[in-house]
């Protein structure tokens, strides 16, 4: 009886359907990692540790009432901007890219923080000005997005700046940015493509060109694309079976526990497996949209929608990259790829979603 009460207290702020989807994806992660790491337990065990840390953080955030959450928006954003400027001024140049800040004890990469900080700040800003939204407000919000994005793009870290742009754009979109402006931006984007092309670094152009002809770079990223596509394609409808992927186990697949883990999965579980995995992701995303639809305040709606759409985008970008329709950018497969940082960022996002869902009754509109 007491035990049950305790359990209820502990899980009061955990959204059951969302948790179910997350747990299934995490179990898949461990299963695939075991195969990808050549039937060794070392990476799966480390991943269990990563998951434990990230789940704890998720639980903490889920229990945080929303007004606390809102209060963190400005400090997090300002802190992130200060760090980004500090990086631009005296960041450590690690071999051509200025991304890290040396704090003496440890080096940090402020762009990671801004993945959460930017949408949080924008949602906060819209909430503040909810009553009197004009085009000017969208302009200011866009500025809040573009400042950090420009700083990150200058580092140069094009991948991260594009992903942050996407999550910021989702906030603008959900906040009701007019279709005409969106259309205008789209046209402007197309028109500026040649200019963008001219400011890209050689290696960035190289990665895009390689998409059309992977054999150009048969020792580097092109090789990754070629081998990953072969792995996916040779998986067929039913897959080669667990632990039986030849691409995986004969060392053909590069980075197979991190960015290319989907190739391992796809080779061993085939099209059927892919359908199941896509359904799982779709389930999580749909639950996210339902939470967004239920959300009681402007801030939480924008936040929940942006988190959900960003999660879907990461999934699409990773699977697209592995199956050879997008260029190779360093985006892990959400909740499945090996790694502590991305696991933490993602589950923090889900913690926010759960807090939004489970605290809504307490907030008066």
């Amino acid at each position: 009886m007491i035990r049950r009460q305790l359990w209820q207290r502990l899980t009061a702020h955990i959204d059951r359907p969302l948790m179910l989807g997350i747990v299934l994806l995490l179990l898949t992660s461990l299963l695939v990692l075991y195969s990808a790491d050549n039937a060794s337990l070392s990476q799966p065990l480390n991943q269990v540790r990563n998951i434990a840390v990230a789940l704890t953080c998720m639980w903490l955030v889920a229990n945080l009432p929303l007004h606390y959450l809102m209060r963190t928006a400005v400090p997090i954003y300002v802190f992130g901007m200060v760090l980004l400027i500090a990086v631009a001024l005296f960041g450590e140049i690690s071999h051509g890219a200025r991304r890290w800040l040396n704090l003496g004890v440890t080096t940090i990469q402020p762009s990671e923080l801004m993945k959460v900080g930017v949408p949080l700040m924008m949602a906060w800003y819209f909430e503040k000005n909810e009553a009197t939204l004009t085009l000017k407000n969208y302009f200011v919000a866009a500025l809040l997005l573009l400042l950090p994005v420009a700083l990150i793009a200058r580092q140069p870290d094009l991948g991260t700046s594009l992903l942050i742009s996407a999550s910021g754009f989702y906030v603008l979109f959900l906040a009701g940015l007019s279709w005409r402006v969106i259309g205008g931006l789209f046209v402007a984007g197309l028109a500026s493509a040649p200019i963008l092309w001219s400011v890209l670094h050689d290696y960035q152009r190289h990665r895009i060109l390689m998409l059309f002809d992977p054999s150009q770079d048969a020792l580097g990223n092109g090789y990754h694309t070629i081998q990953a596509t072969i792995a996916v394609g040779s998986g067929g409808i039913l897959g080669k079976g667990y632990l039986n992927g030849t691409q995986t186990h004969l060392d053909f697949l590069p980075e197979r526990t991190t960015d290319f883990i989907f190739a391992v999965y796809s080779e061993e579980f085939g099209l059927i497996g892919n359908l199941i995995l896509l359904s799982l992701y779709a389930f999580v995303v749909m639950r996210g949209f339902i939470i967004t639809g239920n959300a009681s305040t402007y801030f939480t709606r924008l936040m929940a929608g942006s988190i959900t759409l960003t999660f879907a985008t990461y999934t699409f970008v990773n699977m697209g990259m592995v199956s050879g329709i997008l260029p190779v950018v360093g985006v892990p497969l959400p909740l499945i790829s090996y790694g502590g940082t991305s696991m933490l960022t993602l589950l923090l996002g889900f913690g926010l979603l759960m807090s939004i869902e489970t605290h809504k009754k307490l907030v008066k509109t």
Binding site: L219, N221, G236, N274, S323
Partner: protein
């Protein structure tokens, strides 16, 4: 009324938001559909194509490592070369018990304690799935013995490889540097500069010296071999290949014979020697003593030998010629004299009466000459010849630190020369601004006095002083010093020459140059401070001695070499160029704790000059041959 509007707005907003949400869901469905179509295309429509690729035609892409470029001296003598041999390598992730495997191996092939230590160190630092070397340079017999027993050792293989070798060992160590195994830091650097694919299969990368500075020339382009493998991963046949392109050959301006003679002439002394052709900036010899043998570094030096080198009081790993910063001492005087003439602070004829002590106006602090009692009546010519401190105390004071700073920086003092070797230090040419920044103090007149004889805040590297000497020898026309003369490409059979144009010309009055150069010739003539340097030479040497204090003397204390710990004795300098009338070589010799420039540094310079100008090879001799000739600085 107002309230109602707001309420309506709110309703409308919710409606708008839900519309946006629906569009978002539609967007996600489109993404989903794209992925689905792609998966169906790859896994259902094109499945048999990819299955063929994956199963019946397993193609491995194997990198072929290019041969590293050679490094030759100006006469074509090999300073860094490759030879082929066998190594024994272990793949730790395919070996059940590495320790047991090594023990088993040692019954077949000699595996020393050093090999084991090195292997352990590599294992700790290794990247994933890397093969690690347990033994290198196997004899043919050892290789054959292992091959016969290979089946017993899964994960152990024998490989034919090219080894790097530095035949001159410690004589060229500071110059050539060495290559070493690519570690995680190197790998990250390569990845971030997008070079990682060209280093697939490469195990080594330049770590120091020219091997590091010219890494991009020396490495070459990795080739690709497409190999078909069977189900077990064994190569069955080669399908196609792109041949690797060997690294470029570096031809140095160094004359290795000259380098050897210079190196030997130091005997047991520590120090540095840099010789430059003033007419084009070719560095002819580049010595830092003591050296170290770079060869053990290639495959990872064992901890014990490393500690010995690293903790030695002689600091053999320090490149003194490039990075050692010392007070220039009296070698600064010719440049100071040119500054005095340039700013009309002194005319050549002006004489001072030297009583052996200099006082700043209104101060009782003594600035002593090295010669007790002084040199009597001294003009500029004599001041250089006998290295009169008092004269230069006064000159520096009258010039002022601003003029000194401006003029000396034209000769490259306080700046990197820009030589093609990484890690150069800039030395130090003090200025008012510098002192304020460094010590938050204004510049005092007393600071200028000691700068005049090169004993103040100023610091130079031997390379820097050699550059300044070469520029002086070449009448103010400066060439950037360079070690690599030519880069030879095997691919295009095209030879690129390192820039040979002067970087700038100082407009020095020929009359000023003439005076200073004549005075420097007189330094090596009877009455000068380095008379032994040119005893019996058929050519004229222009030179200047110098001593750099290691510890400061108290007011009124007398320097007595015999009473001072050897490592606290003064450093000896000698700068020179010859033939004085038409210089072909300019050089700097630094002898650490060598005492007087004239007695320890100048004889070394003499041997180098004799070889370079006359082709005379010195008999093996001890450096202390010219003992206490009674000369001073």
């Amino acid at each position: 009324m107002n309230k109602q509007v707001e309420f309506k707005n709110h309703q409308r907003e919710i409606f708008h938001f839900q519309l946006r949400l629906v569009v978002s869901i539609g967007f996600v469905l489109v993404l989903l559909a794209i992925l689905l179509i792609r998966f169906v295309y790859l896994q259902a429509v094109r499945h048999s194509y990819y299955q063929t690729l994956a199963e019946s035609n397993r193609i491995f892409i194997v990198p072929i490592v290019p041969n590293r470029g050679l490094i030759l001296d100006r006469n074509g003598v090999e300073l860094a070369r490759n030879f082929s041999g066998y190594t024994l390598e272990i793949k730790p992730n395919q070996t059940a018990d590495v320790e047991a495997t090594i023990n088993e191996l040692s019954t077949l092939i000699e595996v020393t304690q050093k090999d084991r230590k090195r292997f352990k160190k590599q294992l700790a630092e290794s990247r994933n799935f890397e093969t690690l070397m347990i033994r290198s340079r196997l004899s043919d017999e050892e290789a054959a013995r292992f091959v016969a027993q290979q089946y017993r050792f899964p994960g152990v293989e024998i490989k034919a490889r090219l080894f790097r070798d530095y035949p001159f060992g410690e004589k060229t160590a500071h110059l050539i540097g060495y290559i070493g195994r690519i570690n995680q830091t190197d790998m990250k650097l390569l990845e971030d500069s997008d070079l990682a694919s060209n280093y697939r299969g490469s195990d080594y990368i330049g770590k120091t010296g020219l091997e590091q500075s010219y890494e991009s020339e020396l490495h070459g382009t990795t080739g690709i071999e497409q190999v078909e493998v069977d189900a077990g991963g064994r190569a069955v046949r080669m399908l196609s290949s792109v041949a690797p392109v060997s690294g470029n050959t570096l031809v140095l301006s160094i004359d290795v014979k000259l380098q050897e003679i210079a190196e030997q002439s130091f005997g047991d002394y520590r120090g540095a020697l840099v010789a430059i052709d003033p007419n084009n900036g070719d560095v002819l010899a580049f010595v830092s003593k003591p050296g170290y043998d770079p060869n053990p570094f290639i495959d990872g030096i064992d901890t014990q030998s490393w500690d010995e080198l690293n903790n030695s009081p002689d600091v053999p790993l320090n490149n003194r010629a490039l990075r050692g910063q010392y007070p220039p001492g009296s070698t600064i005087k010719p440049f100071m004299a040119l500054a005095g003439l340039n700013f009309n602070t002194r005319t050549p004829e002006e004489t001072i009466s030297d009583q052996g002590v200099f006082y700043l106006p209104g101060s009782s602090r003594q600035y002593r000459d090295w010669k007790v009692g002084g040199h009597g009546s001294v003009n500029m010519f004599k001041a250089i010849t006998v290295s009169c401190d008092t004269y230069f105390y006064g000159l520096a004071t009258e010039l002022g630190i601003d003029n000194i700073f401006n003029y000396l920086s034209r000769f490259g003092f306080g700046k990197k020369t820009g030589i093609d070797l990484e890690g150069e230090t800039p030395g130090l040419l003090p200025s008012q601004e510098w002192k304020m920044k460094r010590y938050q103090q204004i510049w005092y007149p007393g600071d200028t006095v000691s700068v005049g004889i090169g004993q103040g805040y100023n610091l130079v590297t031997p390379l820097q002083l050699a550059f300044a000497t070469a520029t002086l020898a070449n009448n103010g026309v400066a060439y950037k010093p360079h070690l690599v003369k030519e880069v030879r490409s095997l691919r295009s059979s095209e030879n690129r020459f390192i820039a040979k144009d002067p970087i700038y010309g100082l407009n020095i009055d020929p009359a000023h140059l003439d005076l200073v150069k004549r005075a420097m010739v007189a330094v090596t003539q009877p009455g000068g401070t380095a008379v032994y340097a040119s005893l019996g030479t058929p050519y004229h040497i222009a030179g200047k001695t110098g001593t750099a204090q290691v510890i400061a003397m108290k007011q009124g204390e007398k320097y007595d070499a015999d009473k001072i710990d050897e490592r606290h004795r003064d450093h000896a300098w000698f700068i020179a160029f010859a033939p004085a009338e038409q210089p072909k070589i300019a050089l700097v010799v630094l002898v650490e704790n060598g005492g007087h420039g004239g007695s320890t540094a100048a004889p070394i310079a003499r041997k180098v000059l004799d070889y370079y100008l006359l082709g005379k090879v010195p008999k093996p001799l001890a450096v202390a041959e010219v003992k206490e000739a009674g000369e001073h600085d």
